[in-house]
Structure formats: structure tokens, C-alpha cells
């Protein structure tokens, strides 16, 4: 088991329902340690995105408490809170009328940084996410490939130096090669910058390979959490077992295919 730090984010008995009485989250409790990489997995509509949005108050809890670095978010100014938490959006989420540099610079600009400091920071980030300054800096999002766009999304999220980064299925729409490269690159950044990351994914394999810990949500309930190893081995409920078995089953089928070809 990895070394545990004090909780950067904590959920305590948090419930949230939308109109119609359907519960998006039902008494969820969860701690995310400092410098931890947590992957949240579960089927579509299970409440994953709601969980993420409660952290930076894009949504408000009905009951229970959400704390960020020990402070109840209800006591925080949502705008200030969001400026110190990075957020990588599902799909594109870049501002289509702003260049790459302007997109990356947005949160520092909102925080009132000086122009030279912003310019230097933008250049630094473009390199950090492995884009090319000359080729990409002044392009509009529409002129970039999907992978490049999401690299800009990551750069924008970490531009103002947040300690916490929230990612909502960040690599879901990318082709497998790009996705692989990007997720590895991000994990490296996470370690290098000492971030606390909560990433939503519906790809169990991605969760297993990237995360320090995995939480499984189903119908608004937290049904399991633990390290990848724990999740793969321990006695779990039926759904979790099936879910966690997927990567192994796929690997097994792949192996079988390879054997068949080799035998032929």
C-alpha cells in the first residue's frame, strides 16, 4: 500500500438529487489523499460527473459535507475555489475564439498575473505538455488534432499552478495510440508537480494502469474503493468483480487470439 498523506479532498455522507427525485449521489463518503491519483469508474449515469462537480462547486450538495484541503466548500467563494482547482473537461471545452496561448493563459489572467509572467508560463506549459511553441502557440483550437487539443486542455488546467486537478473522461474521445501517450504523459506530470488528481473514466484498464486508487460508483452509491491490486484480487460485490475482470478477460482473449495465429 502506498504511503498516505492527509486528505486533500473529502466527501462525508454527501447526497445530491436533481429534479424528479432521482438521486445522483446517495450518502457518498470518500477521501482523496494529497498527491494521490484517484480514478472513479462506473457506468454512464452513475453519478461520477456529479461527484467531480461538487468538488469545485459547479454543483451543490443537498446534504453532507465536501471539504477541499480541510475547508468546507460551502464556506468558500466558488469563483476563488475554481481558480485554484484545475479542471479538464469531457470533450473539448476549449474556448473556440481564443488561441492556444490565450486558452492556457485564462486562469492566470483571471488571477491578475502580469503579462510577462503569463507569457513565460504559457511557453513553459506548452513544452510541459509536449506541444511545439512555434507550431501551436497562436493556433485556434479548430486547427488542432484531438490529441493536441486535450494537451492544451491539460495545460490550461494546470496553468495557475493548482494542487488539485479534476478530469472528466479526459481521454475518452481520442484514438487508442494518442490516448495511451497522453495518459502516460499526464501521469508523469502528476508525479512531477505533486498534484492530487481525481479522474473519471469508464475504461477500467486505464484506471488500473494509471491510478493509485480506484473508486467504483453505481447508481449514486460508492460500492467499492481500493488500490488496483486490492480491487483485482479481493472479494468484491458481483458488479465490481465483473468490472475489474474486464481487462483480464480482454487480455486473455488477446492471448488466445495470438496463440491461435501462432499455432496456424
Amino acid at each position: 500500500m502506498s504511503e498516505r498523506h492527509p486528505a486533500a479532498i473529502s466527501f462525508q455522507d454527501v447526497s445530491k438529487s436533481y429534479g424528479g427525485g432521482r438521486k445522483a449521489l446517495d450518502r457518498v463518503s470518500l477521501d482523496v489523499a494529497e498527491r494521490e491519483f484517484l480514478a472513479v469508474v462506473g457506468p454512464s449515469g452513475s453519478g461520477k460527473t456529479t461527484l467531480l462537480r461538487l468538488i469545485n462547486r459547479l454543483a451543490e450538495a443537498d446534504s453532507g459535507a465536501v471539504r477541499v484541503e480541510g475547508e468546507d466548500v460551502r464556506a468558500a467563494d466558488p469563483v476563488v475555489l475554481r481558480r485554484r482547482i484545475g479542471y479538464v473537461f469531457q470533450g473539448i471545452g476549449l474556448f473556440p475564439h481564443m488561441t492556444v496561448a490565450q486558452n492556457i493563459a485564462i486562469t492566470p489572467k483571471l488571477l491578475g498575473w502580469g503579462e510577462t509572467r503569463i507569457a513565460a508560463r504559457v511557453d513553459e506549459l506548452i513544452e510541459l505538455v509536449r506541444l511545439e511553441r512555434a507550431a501551436h502557440r497562436d493556433r485556434l483550437p479548430a486547427q488542432l488534432s484531438g490529441g493536441e487539443r486535450q494537451r492544451v486542455g491539460v495545460a490550461r488546467a494546470i496553468a495557475a499552478g493548482p494542487k488539485i486537478v479534476l478530469m472528466d473522461e479526459p481521454f475518452g474521445a481520442l484514438d487508442p495510440l494518442t490516448r495511451d501517450a497522453l495518459s502516460e504523459d499526464y501521469r508523469r506530470l502528476h508525479d512531477k508537480l505533486g498534484l492530487t488528481t481525481v479522474m473519471i473514466t469508464h475504461d477500467t484498464l486505464e484506471a488500473v494502469l494509471l491510478a493509485d486508487r480506484i473508486a467504483v460508483i453505481r447508481e449514486g452509491r460508492m460500492i467499492a474503493q481500493g488500490t488496483p491490486r486490492q480491487m483485482l484480487s479481493a472479494e468484491q460485490d458481483e458488479y465490481v468483480r465483473k468490472l475489474m475482470a474486464t481487462p483480464q478477460r480482454q487480455a486473455g482473449r488477446l492471448q488466445a487470439l495470438l496463440d491461435e495465429r501462432g499455432g496456424a
Binding site: Y87, G93, P96, L111, R156
Partner: protein, 519 residues
Amino acid sequence: MHPQIADALARLPDYLGGHIAVSLTALALGLAVSLPLALLSVHRPRLRGTLLGFASVVQTIPGLALLALFYPLLLGIAALTERAFGTGFSALGFLPSVLALALYSMLPVLRNTITGLDGVDPDVRQAALGVGMTPRQSLFMVELPLALPVIMAGIRTAAVWVIGTATLSTPIGQTSLGNYIFTGLQTQNWVFVLFGCAAAAVLALAVDQLLSLMESGLGARNARRVTAGTLGLVLIAAAALAPGLSKASATYVIGTKTFTEQYILASLIEARLRDSGLTARRREGLGSSVIFDALRAGEIDVYVDYSGTIWANQLGRTDIMPRADIIAEIAKTLRARDGIVVLGGLGFENAYALAMAARRAQTLGIRSIADLGKHAPQLSIAGDYEFFARPEWDAIRKAYGLNFREQRQMQPEFMYGAVASGQVDVISAYTSDGRIALHNLTVLDDPRRVIPPYDAILLISPKRANDAALIAALRPLIDAIDVDMMRQASARAVMGDGNSSASPDQAAIWLWGEIQKKR
């Protein structure tokens, strides 16, 4: 150069200047009101429904009616402020035009701004909040820039509408390119009509293109294009102000209604004032409902009206008295009630009369309105826009038991041609109109004396009631013009006389010559 084109060009600075001033002011006012309202209503569905509903209703009011409605409204408000603060304001011309046109510009701006902001991708709006923007920052940094093309399309639509509709501000006393169109239609000067339409179209296109340049500049963050577009608009606005500055201010304002005879008489009056060393300018093409109120309020100083019109509309009378008695009665009442001075009759009548093509009347054996009764169910009649709503039409119909097969409204210019060519059988003609002789029409007698007399009378505003210089200058016109002279002058204004070109000013010069010969 063709004299009518030269005449049109000479008027261009004044008309174009007035047109630009009124339409750009209206557009600026419309934007200043609509844009903030649209922003306010983005997240307020009820306000937004109300606003769009209101703007849509305004849009369904015909432009001419909307403009005309503002005149009595402002006149009332002006009277109130006069009473409350001791100072009124001019309810004629610029102000009502600007207000009505600004209202007219609201729908495209409101609708496009709201639609444009609605069309912003919700994911992008979420992202704006997510990176830490306040709702206000999100609006100005993300939503408005993204909605800009749609908003600008609305502004451009509004600009084209306002510039086009501003031609209709002429009848409420605002000088505009519409002066060409209204004057041209009345005097059958098609060069004027085309000139007015073309000038309005060119102006609308120019403004549209400049706005388009600004839009593309804003979209591409190209400061030079934005500056060029802005500069172009500023230059157009400056061009509007320039003639206004150089124009000498005139002491007296002469009003005219919207037909040829009125243009000729106004030109004649202006020449008399000039001969007496007074300065004057004309406010042409005023609606006949506007012009009397304008005189009473002192917006204009002098104009020619007709006794039968005042008798029915101002005094509310339907009884018939001898010509001279009616003028005397009107003079007494207007003086006592409004302080308006009736200087006297000009000597001719411009009465409503029913007229037919001479040959057709002969074939049917019709000489008077009484003869018309038994034929009416097989015949059609055309009248000007007022005629069928006037009390004398009611009186004629009742007295002679007329019941026509068909009843049509027409622009007076087309009425005479229509009856001459047999498209209609009877028209409501004007007795002093030169076109009666021109088209060989028969004016039907009125044996029961149902149609009131329509003496042309000279009215002077209350504030000029004791202006000796003005009254002395106008005296020579009293009882000086007989109906035959007026008919000839009207014909000359439309057809010319072979030597001089056709224009109301030329006809007025000829008329003054005849008046002096008669003495």
C-alpha cells in the same frame, strides 16, 4: 444635364443629411436600448418573452402608421411639459421619427442577440465557469464574442430596415430621402422617385458593408478593419451634420400637404416672403392629419388648407352654408379656440367632385350625381385614401342613394389615368386639378348641394397672429387666384409648357405672373 436630375442633385445634401441624421440616431438609440435589454433577459425567460412579444407586435405595425402615431403622442407630452415646466419641445419631425424608427430596430437586435447567446455551446459555458470566470466575465469574455456574428447580423438587418423605413418620416415633417419619393409621386416626377429610392438603397448598402467590415475585423481581431469600418460610419455621420451647419436658419416655416397644388402654393408663398425680405423654408409633404396640429403648435407658421376640410374635421359641422359664410365662421372659431388667424381665401375652390370620362358619361347619359343613382350598381368608383372615410362621402351616398358595384382606394396620380382608360367608371376628383382637362373628364353636378365648398384658405399660426410683416407679404395672394389659373398651374407643374421644365417652382413663377397681369 437633365433639369430634373440637376434639381434632384441640388436637394441631395439637405435630404441625405436629414436622412442620415434621423436613421443613425434612431439606430444608435435602438442599440443602446435593445442590447442591454437583451443581455438582461438572457437568464430571465419571462422578461425575454415579454420583450420579444412587444418587439414583434411593433414590427407588425406598418412603418407609416407607427411614425404617424408618434406625432399626436409627442404633441400631448409636449403640451404637458409646457404646462409643467414652461418649456415644450418640437413634436414634429426629428423626435417622433427617431423614436418610431428606434422601436422598429428593436426586434432584429433583440432576437439575434438572444438567439446568438443561446447558441453558445453549453460545454463552453461550463468550461468558462470551471476555469474560474464569474458569470459576468463568462458573458463578456466568452459568450458575447462567440455570439458576435449572429448579433452583428441582427444589427445589420436593423440598419437596413431603419434606413429604408426612414423614407416614411417625410409626412411627419422630417426631411429625408422620402421627400424625393413623396414629391415625385405627387408631381409625377419619376426621376425624383427613382433618385430617392436609389439614394436610400445606396446608403443602406454602404452602412451594411461598413458594419460587415467591422464584424469581420472583430472576428479576426483585425484592428485595422474595425477602425476602417468605424471611420466610415463616422464620416457618414459627419456628412449628415455638415449641411445642417451651413444651412442658414430661416425665420418662417411653410407647411405643405402631399399634393401638387400644395407644392406650388408653398413655392408661391416662399417667393412672396423673400420679396418682402423675410427668410422662409418649407416643410413638405406633411400628412393632412399632422399639418393642422403642427400649425396650432407653432411648428409651422403658415399653410393653405381648405374650408370644407376644416369645417368637417375641426368644427365637426355637416351642414352647408354659402362659401363666404363658411370661411367667416371658420375664421371666428379658429381665432377664438386656437388663436389661429385665417387670412382669407385665395379665390378658388379645390372641392371634391365626382368625375367620369366625358365619353362614358355621354353614352350613359349622366350629367349630375343624381343621374348616377340608377347606374351605380353596374359601376365602380375610385377615391383617394381619405375620401371614403370622409363625412361628405356619407352625405353624397345618402342624398343620392348611391350604391356602387365596387369601391377602390388609389393614389390620386393614378386615379385620373384609371378613369380615362376605363379601369374604373367614377373617381373622386379635385375641382382645381389640371388633370380634369388633361384627361377630358366630366365633373358631375351636385344639384342638391351636398358637397361643402372647399375654398383654399391661408392659415397663420397663433404665434404669428400679430406679425404685420408676414401678413403684409401674404395679402396680395388673397382672392388673387381663380380656379382656371390654379388648374393651369397644376398642369404646368406636371407637364411643363414646352419652354420651361415641369416643376412646382416653375408653375409658381408662372402663377405669380398671371396674378400680376390680372391686377
